[in-house]
Each structure stands twice: as C-alpha cells, then as structure tokens.
C-alpha cells in the first residue's frame, strides 16, 4: 500500500487518426497524453498547468474513467483500476468526482437543481436510501453556500458562479475523497472566481478532500495548489512544490510560461524578465523528436533533437525537470 490516494504510472492516451470509410486504416495517432506519472497525497492539492492542447483535459477524463487509457496504470487508493472487477471499479469511481469547466453546459437545463445534485444517488443507489436523499441534497446546497429552498429551481435561474457551486455540490454528493477540478473558475468573472476558490479551500479544510486542480491560469494555481505539475504536449515537463515551481523553475517552458503571465502591478512594468516565445505549440499528432519543446526553445542543441530528456532531478534545485539544460531562473520576481 502506498500513501497516495491517486497515482498514475506511464499513463498514455492516443487517439487514432484513420483514413478511409470502409477499410479504415490507422495513419497515425494524436498523442494527447503520453506517459504521465502523477502522485496525489491525502489532503493535498495538485495543480496541473499547461496551455490549450497540452492534454490536461484528456488527463482529467482518464482519471475519472471517462476515457480508457491506451496503456499505463491508474491506482485509486492503491487499487489498479484496470485490474479490478466491474463492481469494485464502480465503487472506486465514487471516490473521485469531477467539477467541470463550463457551468453553462455541464448542467442539464431541463432538470431541477435537486435532480441534478441527486443524480449521483441514482447511479449509486446503495449510498443513501431514497427517503434521505432530498434532505442530503439540501444539506449539500447549504454546504456550497446556496439557499436550500432553491432545490426546485432550474439552472437558468442561477448566475455563473452559483451554477459552479451546483456543480461542486454534485461532485460532493457521494462523499468522494478526491475532487478533480477541470478549469473550475476560468469561465467566471474575477470577483466571482475568488468566491469559488475560497469555497473550494473551505471544503478542503472541512472535509479533508484531495484536489487535482487543472487550470491554465498560473496565478490561480499558485494560490490553491501545494504541488504543481507543468504539462507540454502530453508530457509532464516539470514538477515540484508550489514554491519550487514558482520561485525556482528550471525548465525553459515553465520559465517562459511564468514570465508571460501579466502581474497586476504597474510598478513592475518593464522590470520583469519577460521571455516571449516564438511560434505555436506543435501538433500532438506529430510531436518533435527528442524534447518536445525544442522547436520553441532558446537553449535547444543537437542533443535535444536526439535524446528525449527524462523527468528527473537534475540540479541542486531538488525537483524533477525534463530538460538537458535545466537551470534555475527566477522569472516571477522583479529583476533590476
């Protein structure tokens, strides 16, 4: 038994690209997730950051079982989800629930809030007897800061922030240990975003939840995460504690990503170490050989095209980085 509530080993998801209608022929694959190792400890928040197309949402779908991995293993509370029977897998799934990005499309407009939050009990009827479900739904509404009397309202009667609270209540219905938040605040205005993040932190303290927090907004992740993994083109290229990643990043991509985030302080204008990357993210159907970031990297040498850098501890910074030339560079704070 490990002390991780969730662990992945070399998790891979390739989506086949086919040609032809009758005689389908596989001509390639989109390597959405390509060998990801993650560990989530009890009660901690793991932030996963990366730009669009880096595979973070596919990773989320793999973790909650909405996609079947092409290869690799997923352990939930020490049990390999691919090896256990169907019934045990169902029970395992209960422990990991998803909060989705878009509160406008992730709630069925024709169901009342009570039905939406109560639906997990229909899928897992043995969790709670029928008679107690309505009371539990009202309890959940109160827990996420909504009025329990609104149980019969429809989603359109709520604002974006309130809908996201409904999504959170639904995720909490089965008393999971792990909540996976896939861009939970990116569709919300800043004043509402802060409310939802404070709610997530409050729930973690009260219920002892573990979070996997997937987001593209690095400031949001810094605020909420204990450990951070940075993804690029289906791979994790750097991982460490929140401090290690933000204060002493060693991978050039992490550094570029951090330096690109605008800081809301006009005094720092022109004083920050800004790295402006050239070009776009390459297609995951045809990633570059060796290091996948080398096409946009200013440090790239011949070795980067030939040899894929492994995610390992490389220098005294003490956290793993997948770069042959890993070197600490503090890009977040003002430099002369």
């Amino acid at each position: 038994m490990s002390d991780f509530v969730l662990e992945t080993r070399d998790l891979v998801k390739h989506f086949p690209l086919t040609q032809g209608i009758v005689f389908k022929k596989q001509i390639g694959a989109v390597r959405a997730v390509d060998g990801v190792n993650l560990q989530l400890r009890r009660g901690e928040t793991l932030g996963v950051v990366g730009e669009s197309g880096c595979g973070k949402s596919t990773l989320a779908r793999l973790l909650v079982g909405l996609e079947t991995p092409t290869s690799g293993d997923l352990f939930v509370q020490g049990r390999n989800m691919a090896k256990v029977g169907a019934e045990e897998r169902r029970r395992g799934r209960r422990n990991i629930q998803l909060v989705m990005q878009d509160p406008y499309t992730s709630l069925n407009p024709r169901m009342t809030v009570g039905d939406i939050i109560g639906e997990p009990f229909e899928v897992h009827p043995d969790v709670l007897p029928k008679g107690q479900r309505r009371g539990k739904v009202q309890e959940l509404l109160e827990l996420v800061g909504l009025n329990p009397d609104h149980i019969n309202r429809y989603p359109h009667q709520f604002s974006g922030g309130q809908r996201q609270r409904i999504g959170i209540a639904r995720a909490l219905a089965l008393n999971p240990e792990i909540i996976l938040c896939d861009e939970p605040v990116s569709a919300l205005d800043v004043s509402i975003q802060a409310q939802v993040m404070n709610l997530l932190e409050k729930l973690q303290n009260e219920l002892g939840l573990s979070y996997i927090f997937i987001a593209h907004d690095l400031s949001v992740v810094r605020h909420i995460a204990d450990r951070v993994a940075v993804m690029y083109l289906g791979k994790i290229i750097e991982t460490g504690t929140e401090d290690e990643i933000y204060e002493s990043p060693t991978h050039p991509y992490t550094q570029a990503l951090l330096s690109a985030v605008p800081v809301p302080d006009p005094k720092l204008r022109g004083q920050r170490d800004q790295i402006v990357l050239t070009g776009d993210v390459p297609s995951p159907a045809n990633p570059p050989s060796g290091c996948r970031f080398r096409t946009r990297c200013w440090k790239a040498q011949d070795v980067c095209a030939e040899q894929e850098p492994l995610l390992q501890i490389r220098d005294k910074s003490g956290h793993p980085s997948a770069c042959h030339f890993a070197e600490v560079r503090d890009v977040v704070h003002a430099t002369e």
Partner: protein, 345 residues
C-alpha cells in the same frame, strides 16, 4: 470604382485636426427588451490621446463591449439604441453623421479588433482576400495591388511565410495567428484609434504575451490611440496609461494606471484588486466581493454597487447615484466615501 467611399476625409464637417482623436461624452445606450429597458451604458465619458492606451476595465455585463460597439456604430439596433451623448472624432460628432460618412471613419480612422478572431473572420474567403478587400473598397485599389498590400500587412504582424499564407483560409491559422490577421486588418488603413475588445482573452498566456508585445510595438510606431477593453487586471497593469473602471453601465473610477493600483478610490476597484490571485505573492488571502453584479434591467437605486459594498451607508442607497468626485486633479471616483476607501489599507 465607386467614389462615394473614397471621399477625402477633410470633407467631414467641423473636423479639427488639433482636437483629440477620440472623445466620448456622457454616452447613453439602452436595450429595449421584453423584460424592460436595460441601460447598458449610462453616461460614460472618456478620451483617448494619440499614442495613449486607455483601458476600459470591467466584468461581463458592465457595458464595456457595448461602449465599443456604439463608438464603431455596429450596435445591434434594435434592440440597442444610443439615446444620448456624443462620440467625437477630432471634434466631429460621429452620432450626427450619415451612415455613408460614418463608414469613412470606420476602419479609416477608428478600427476595432474583436475577442474571437475565428468568428470575426469570414470562413469562406481566404485571409488575403479579406485583407485586400479593405484596400479595394476603401482605397479603390486594383486586385493585384491590394493583394500585394495584404502580403505586406501579414509581414507587418509577423506571420511567417506571408506569401503562402495569404491564400489560406482562417481555419488553417492557429488562434494567435488569427488574432494577428485581425490586427493586420484593423491596421490596414492606418487608423488613428484602435479599439481592442478583449484581444487576448481567448489565447494562451505565451501567445497573449506575443500579441500584446506586437500591439505595443505597432502602437508606438504609429503613435496610435488604443482603447483596450478587458477584464484582466494583469494585462492592464502591463500596458495601460489611463484606466476607466466600469460597473453596471457607469464609469465608477478614472485614473492613471499607477494611482489605481497603488490606492484605488472606489470600493469596487479595491475589491477587484483584492480578489485576484497574484503569481508573485504566496499564500495571500483572497477577499472576494460578496454577491453578484445587478441585472441591467434592475439596477438598485443610488450607487449600483451599494448591495455589495462594505462602505455603504444610507446615502449610497438613495438616488441620485454618486457623481464622479475629483480625487486629485487627474483622477475621479464615483463614491461618496472615496477618501476613506483611498486611505484605507
């Protein structure tokens, strides 16, 4: 070649070359809907100098995009109507011009880029065709000449292999490249003012940094006025000179960028600043603004922000709404208690 759109700009009545390139005075826009009249813009005033960046900051539904649409004259009407105020381009009130005259100002003098470049570009024409159209329609240039200019423009916005890419369709471009095409199109006719409505919201941060750097460079070269409409306080801190903060259709604070961030004088601005997590600060507490912005059909009496405000007193709950008080000679705030807010830590 039709000549009506090629009339010299000097033909605009009352044009004063020394006046500011864009001045908005007491603009009123309302939407007449089934649920009543929504005052989307309620007395908005600001101006833009040549070479200056004016940020209009606010959350969704505060009226910032509607303001931009009213300036460009592309408001959906009905249901939207400009019911009052002035929009001055170098002293000429655009609202008093005929549609034909207005068209000469649009793109020629005041141009706009939109948030979602994919839906703003026509999917069935090549990028080159759409860029060249600007020169054909507005300048009466030949197809060949205008295409050559289109390639120059793509070069200007740093799209690699412009000669080949000019014949491609919008869907063949990535998000960042599309936004570059939009910028190229907006700059085609050398406008004096560029309105950028959430230009980088749909983009990743590394691409956002590229686009903002490009915009800043082009603005500097051309001494162009820029109106940056955004909700992102980070982007604003990086590029803006002056800021107008909007809430429920009104400008509630107007100041230089340093003043706003150092000592906000309106509780809403203060609340916004306290609710954003910062990359360079660790473990700070986020104090969220409680409640929700009001529906525009049902704005509370007095100050629109009073139900969410921790400084609110009885005076805030009574009409009229607080006017913009002069905080210093160069900044204003629409709060009865701006002194307390500003000095409060």
């Amino acid at each position: 070649m039709s000549t009506d759109v090629n009339v010299k700009m000097d033909a605009l009545p009352g044009l004063d070359p020394n006046a500011l390139p864009l001045q908005v005075k007491n603009l009123q826009v309302e939407f007449r809907t089934r649920n009543g009249i929504a005052r989307a813009v309620n007395g908005v005033s600001f101006d833009v100098r040549a070479g200056e960046t004016r940020a209009i900051l606010g959350e969704s539904g505060c009226g910032k995009s509607v303001t931009a649409q009213a300036i460009m004259g592309i408001l959906d009407s009905p249901p939207g109507f400009v019911t009052g105020g002035e929009i001055l381009y170098r002293g000429v009130d655009l609202l008093k011009l005929s549609e034909a005259e207005r068209r000469k100002v649009r793109a020629n003098k005041i141009a706009m880029i939109f948030q979602d470049a994919l839906s703003a570009l026509n999917p069935v024409f090549t990028v080159g065709f759409q860029l060249a159209e600007m020169f054909r329609k507005h300048r009466g240039m030949s197809r060949q000449d205008s295409k050559a200019r289109a390639i120059e423009l793509l070069d200007l916005v740093k799209i690699p292999a412009a000669k080949q890419r000019v014949n491609e369709y919008p869907h063949q471009f990535s998000g960042g490249m599309r936004q570059r095409v939009m910028i190229a199109m907006a700059l085609a006719l050398d406008p004096e003012v560029l309105i950028a409505d959430e230009p980088t919201t749909a983009l990743d941060v590394t691409v956002q940094a590229q686009i903002m750097a490009l915009l800043a460079e082009l603005q500097r070269e051309r001494n162009m006025g820029l109106v940056l409409i955004t909700h992102d306080m980070g982007v604003v801190a990086d590029v803006a000179d002056r800021i107008s903060v909007m809430y429920a259709g009104r400008v509630i604070e107007e100041a230089g960028v340093d003043d706003i961030y150092a000592s906000p004088a309106h509780p809403y601005t203060k609340g916004l600043l306290e609710s954003i997590p910062r990359l360079d600060l660790k473990g700070q507490e986020l104090s969220a603004i409680k409640g929700l912005p009001p529906a525009l059909t049902n704005i509370p009496p007095g100050c629109a922000f009073n139900p969410r405000c921790r400084y609110a007193q009885d005076v805030c709950r009574k009409d009229p709404a607080p006017p913009l008080f002069q905080v210093t000679p160069s900044r204003t705030a629409a709060c009865h208690f701006w002194k307390e807010v500003k000095d409060d830590e």
